[in-house]
């Protein structure tokens, strides 16, 4: 048969598993055969280079398909979305596709699961790779059926030339075929080039459908495996006792000899933990152990931090400089100025960090983790132990929602477990307690924004000015490594996220990038750690921008929706705003509404906001009630319109929108990390309250589908349009603008002076 001679498809007799086609990319030729045989048999194989040896797809003799990706399921539906893309290109039923995610032994490195990249980048790679797999199968089928590929059609994994049929399974029956797909990756993670032509989107029958999420049944029946469920033979439970102040070091350690049985104290540098066979013994031991830490008090406090941020040395970057904003401000008749402030925030994983490390005397290391980037953690652990990444295996499991907390700082608990396991020569499970997570998670940064605008007598915008002070959103330190004296990562600088939205003639935007608070004043290389938190940076930037746009519209006596539309030209931007407004039944009028009051009883108002996040357009209209005597704000309804290009799974997107809306209402109304000069002081859900069901708004989503535009992220955009819309709704209801988050009752009550 001709396919045997094809240099890209090699054929070997297969003994056991019925046969398979293994689709690879970037695999050194000498490894192809062994790797294919191992993969087809469902075995692990070693990866000399974790970045390139990539086995993507296996088409099995029983017609099932296995696809492997370093991307991981965070509850956002990527497992199902990627399976839909693979099934679509291969023309197989979606439930014949099994996604294997986040296992460094077998999953090719498509980057981490963050930054709205899973569908946008990994999805586009899968589209091409599955198309290559389909092309390989069609070559086999052409040979089998004696017809040219151009005369073949595929439906549900069965190839037909009109007269005869052969299934994919039959094509690979009894042999192991390997196909090294002729693809290259553009810029590492930005896409893929190949020779096969992916299906035209007009022919889609699986992509675009509301396929139920594949991960849900296991989560509902307690059969899903979370990292917290993993038990390794001989494993010890560890509870780490973290420093008192962020820069504190150990002065002395008491004794546990008689107080708690079955425990041992392990110290590596300033990493100290109590280990025990029983989890409760480890907890009691950690509570009982007296550790004296050095005093450290170099932080500002959460009360004065906004003033302090302005005094720190910054690295400045001009984001936008169009026309002459300074000159226009100088000469304008009407000027506005305002300062917006956002607090430090928690990711607030509902389960604290947990990981298991098994560092063995033979040099091999296995990590059980809920990280957002298994290959990243693999490299970090190798660096911590001065070994090759190939000695480190990371197995990723379901975990509590992390929203970026495990993206740059891949897994703090794993970084601690590594040193503890190496020290005791046994597998060690580190489980943080609630206070550990609230205090030591890398937070979202607090920010300050100075806004200015100039208007002419007719209310037209002559100048727009936005300066932002922001600590980093990309701390990538691993806590255990730093405490153990082996820091491997840096903390970065703050910046700016998000595009210039409106066509203001004279516009100036300046980012004052700040280092991590007190980073230079601790022995660990980090300060008050701040890293990616769902729509990092853009959440804060957009809050200030969109609220201030509302202020300008109010000053000009304009309807805030009309005002935005007047300053937009992009049809997708206009469409999402109009869709949200239509769903909400928006009627044009300026804010505040007539009858706005801080004196009467409960008043209601509305707000609108718009954003472009990584190529996705989102707009929200919200309604909220304000009770001046108590300061209580309740978001009642959110109408959220979104255009993320091609829709892969509308049901999953609706849930992502609802998730983003509710989480952001929580951030805007309730959340603030408090800290004194030593450390974070909000250590539980009482001192760091989040949204409860009582206050959850109703969400109506409107999805705009653009099949001709490649898909972009759906988990983050909606996060950006809530905080300003709530602030604007309070203004609409009361005539008072509140510019500092969160909009907790005490702040609102004070601002309203009721």
């Amino acid at each position: 048969m001709s396919t045997i001679k094809d240099k890209h498809i090699s054929r070997r007799t297969f003994m056991k598993a019925g046969g398979a086609l293994v689709v690879m990319a970037g695999v050194p030729l000498e490894l192809v055969e062994n790797a294919a045989r191992a993969i087809a048999a469902g075995n692990f194989y070693t990866t000399p280079d974790t970045g390139t040896l990539a086995s993507w797809l296996t088409i099995n003799a029983d017609g099932t398909v296995i696809a492997r990706s370093s991307h991981v399921e965070l509850g956002h539906g990527v497992q199902t979305g990627l399976a839909q893309i693979v099934a679509e290109e291969l023309d197989v039923p979606v439930h014949s596709v099994t996604m294997i995610l986040g296992n460094t032994d077998v999953t090719p490195d498509q980057g981490g699961t963050f930054g709205s990249q899973s569908i946008k980048v990994a999805g586009s790679q899968w589209r091409q790779i599955a198309a290559e797999g389909r092309a390989a199968l069609l070559k086999l089928a052409a040979s089998r059926l004696g017809s040219p590929v151009s005369q073949l059609t595929v439906k549900n994994g069965v190839v037909s030339n009109g007269a005869q049929k052969v299934s994919y399974g039959q094509l690979v029956q009894g042999q192991v075929l390997s196909w090294v797909a002729p693809i290259t990756f553009k810029g590492g993670q930005n896409g893929v080039l190949g020779t096969a032509k992916p299906k035209d989107t007009s022919a889609y029958s699986i992509v675009g459908q509301p396929v139920p999420r594949m991960d849900i049944p296991g989560k509902v029946t307690a059969t899903a495996t979370y990292v917290t469920d993993v038990k390794v033979p001989g494993m010890l439970h560890a509870r780490v006792i973290h420093p008192k102040g962020i820069g504190s070091t150990i002065v002395s350690i008491g004794s546990l000899s008689s107080s708690v049985q079955g425990t041992q104290v392990v110290r590596v540098g300033n990493l100290i933990a109590v280990l025990a066979e029983r989890e409760w013994d480890a907890i009691k031991g950690a509570q009982a152990l007296q550790v004296t830490w050095s005093n450290w008090n170099k932080l500002p406090t959460s009360t004065n931090v906004y003033d302090v941020l302005r005094t720190l040395k910054t690295t400045d970057r001009v984001i936008t400089n169009r026309g002459d904003a300074a000159g226009a401000l100088e000469s304008a008749e009407q000027k506005l100025g305002a300062t917006y402030q956002t607090p430090f925030e928690n990711h607030g994983m509902i389960g604290p960090s947990c990981a298991i490390a098994d560092v063995r005397s033979d040099g091999s290391v296995t990590i059980h983790s809920a990280t957002q980037y298994p290959q990243g953690l693999q490299k970090d652990v190798a660096a911590m132990l001065d070994i090759s990444p190939n000695q480190v295996r990371v197995l990723r499991y379901e975990g509590p929602g992390c929203y970026g907390r495990l993206s740059a700082n891949y897994d703090d608990a794993a970084s601690e477990a590594v040193f503890l396991s190496k020290s005791v020569g046994k597998p060690v499970r580190v489980q943080w307690m609630r206070a550990d997570e609230h205090q030591w998670e890398p937070h979202g940064p607090g920010t300050v924004h100075d806004m200015k605008a100039a208007l002419d007598a007719g209310g037209n915008v002559l100048a727009w000015w936005h300066e932002a002070w922001m600590p980093p959103v990309n701390d990538s330190t691993e806590l255990g490594a730093s405490l153990a004296g082996k820091p491997i990562k840096s903390t970065g600088l703050g910046g700016w996220t998000g595009p210039d939205l409106y066509t203001f003639t004279n516009s100036y935007e300046l980012a004052h990038g700040l280092p991590e608070l007190a980073a230079g004043d601790t022995p660990y290389g980090f300060g008050l750690r701040t890293t990616f938190l769902r729509s990092p940076g853009q959440y804060q930037i957009t809050f200030a921008q969109e609220a201030f746009v509302d202020e300008i519209a109010a000053k000009a006596g304009r309807d805030p929706l009309d005002f935005r539309l007047q300053h937009l030209t992009d049809p997708r931007a206009i469409a999402v705003l109009q869709a949200a407004a239509m769903a909400a039944g928006w009627d044009a009028r300026p804010s505040p509404k007539s009858g706005a009051s801080t004196k009467s009883g409960t008043v209601t108002g509305r707000g609108v906001a718009f954003v472009i996040r990584d190529g996705t357009y989102a707009a929200a209209v919200i309604s909220a009630s304000v009770d001046p005597p108590t300061g209580k704000v309740q978001v009642q309804n959110v109408w959220l319109a979104q255009d993320s290009g091609l829709i892969i799974n509308p049901m999953a997107i609706e849930h992502q929108i609802e998730s983003a809306v509710l989480q952001t209402v929580s951030r805007a109304l309730f959340e603030e990390v408090t800290f004194d000069s030593a450390n974070v002081t909000s250590l539980d859900w009482k001192s760091y309250p989040i949204l409860t069901m009582a206050d959850a708004p109703r969400v109506t989503s409107v999805l705009i589908n653009h099949p001709e535009i490649p898909p972009t992220g759906t988990g983050e955009p909606a996060c950006n349009v809530l905080a300003s819309a709530i602030s604007s709704a309070i203004f609409d209801a009361t005539g008072v603008r509140i510019r500092t988050l969160p909009l907790r009752p005490d702040r609102v009550k004070a601002a309203l002076g009721a």
């Binding site: 049944p217 029983r278 379901e398 509308p650 849930h655 949204l691 069901m693 959850a696 989503s701």
Partner: protein, 228 residues
């Protein structure tokens, strides 16, 4: 022309009202034996997820979980959560806070939603049902055959799948346990009653960080209809 998929707005809610007092008659214990499914269904009020309580005492040093007695090795002050997870290998109840502040660890003790992270196992004298045991509990209540039971989920679990509730899923154990607790007392709860139950039932609100509350409300109402 763009395709637009619109999602209908949820029903308007009324101001939160308190959960009605528990129906005393419904709470009254119904005598019965243990072990055999046959004893269970008779006498159970429609819509009330009331299990027949075992008359057989749980042996000293044991917990009865999902119908089975387990000897416990843990020290007397160990929270039930660690017994369930570490000794019994159950996965439903999750560690979320250890403080009774979030609800991820919830189990049913007899018929009451209970935070296993702050309840010493030695303080538990009644039957424990975890997420893993909900289906069998329902099958018993409905008197399903073994064959039927094997392919039947508890209506709350089925509703959670049908409404596609979980995102990360970590808190959903407690949410489903709370739903069973609520539906046993208020078989047809209003939206306001659901919001109140999940927020105001001591010792704390049930917290979800992924933002699934509205899907939970829809799922509880769906389960309510299925159980009616």
């Amino acid at each position: 022309m763009d395709d637009q998929t619109e999602r209908p707005a949820a029903e308007p809610s009324n101001a939160p009202d308190p959960i009605p007092p528990v129906d005393r008659a419904r709470r009254a214990k119904i005598a019965g034996g243990i072990g055999a499914a046959a004893v269970v269904a008779a006498g159970v009020a429609v819509g009330a997820t009331r299990l027949v309580r075992s008359q057989q005492a749980i042996p000293e040093g044991s917990v009865r979980v999902n119908g089975v007695d387990h000897r416990v090795q843990s020290s007397a002050d160990t929270p039930l959560l660690y017994v369930l997870r570490d000794e019994l290998g159950l996965r439903g109840p999750k560690f979320g806070c250890g403080l009774g502040q979030c609800g991820a660890c919830s189990v049913l003790v007899e018929n009451k939603e209970t935070r296993s992270c702050i309840t010493a196992w030695t303080a538990v004298k009644e039957d424990v049902t975890t997420l893993e045991g909900l289906s069998a509990r329902w099958a018993k209540q409905k008197g399903l055959s073994a064959a039927q039971a094997a392919k039947t989920l508890h209506p709350v679990q089925q509703a959670w799948i049908d409404q596609q509730v979980p995102q990360c899923g970590y808190c959903q154990n407690g949410m489903m346990i709370m739903a069973v607790h609520l539906l046993a007392r208020t078989p047809a709860p209003s939206e306001a009653q659901i919001r109140s139950a999940f927020t105001n039932t001591p010792p704390s609100p049930h917290l979800c960080r992924c933002g699934t509350y509205m899907s939970i409300i829809a799922a509880v109402q769906r389960a309510s209809r299925a159980m009616a």
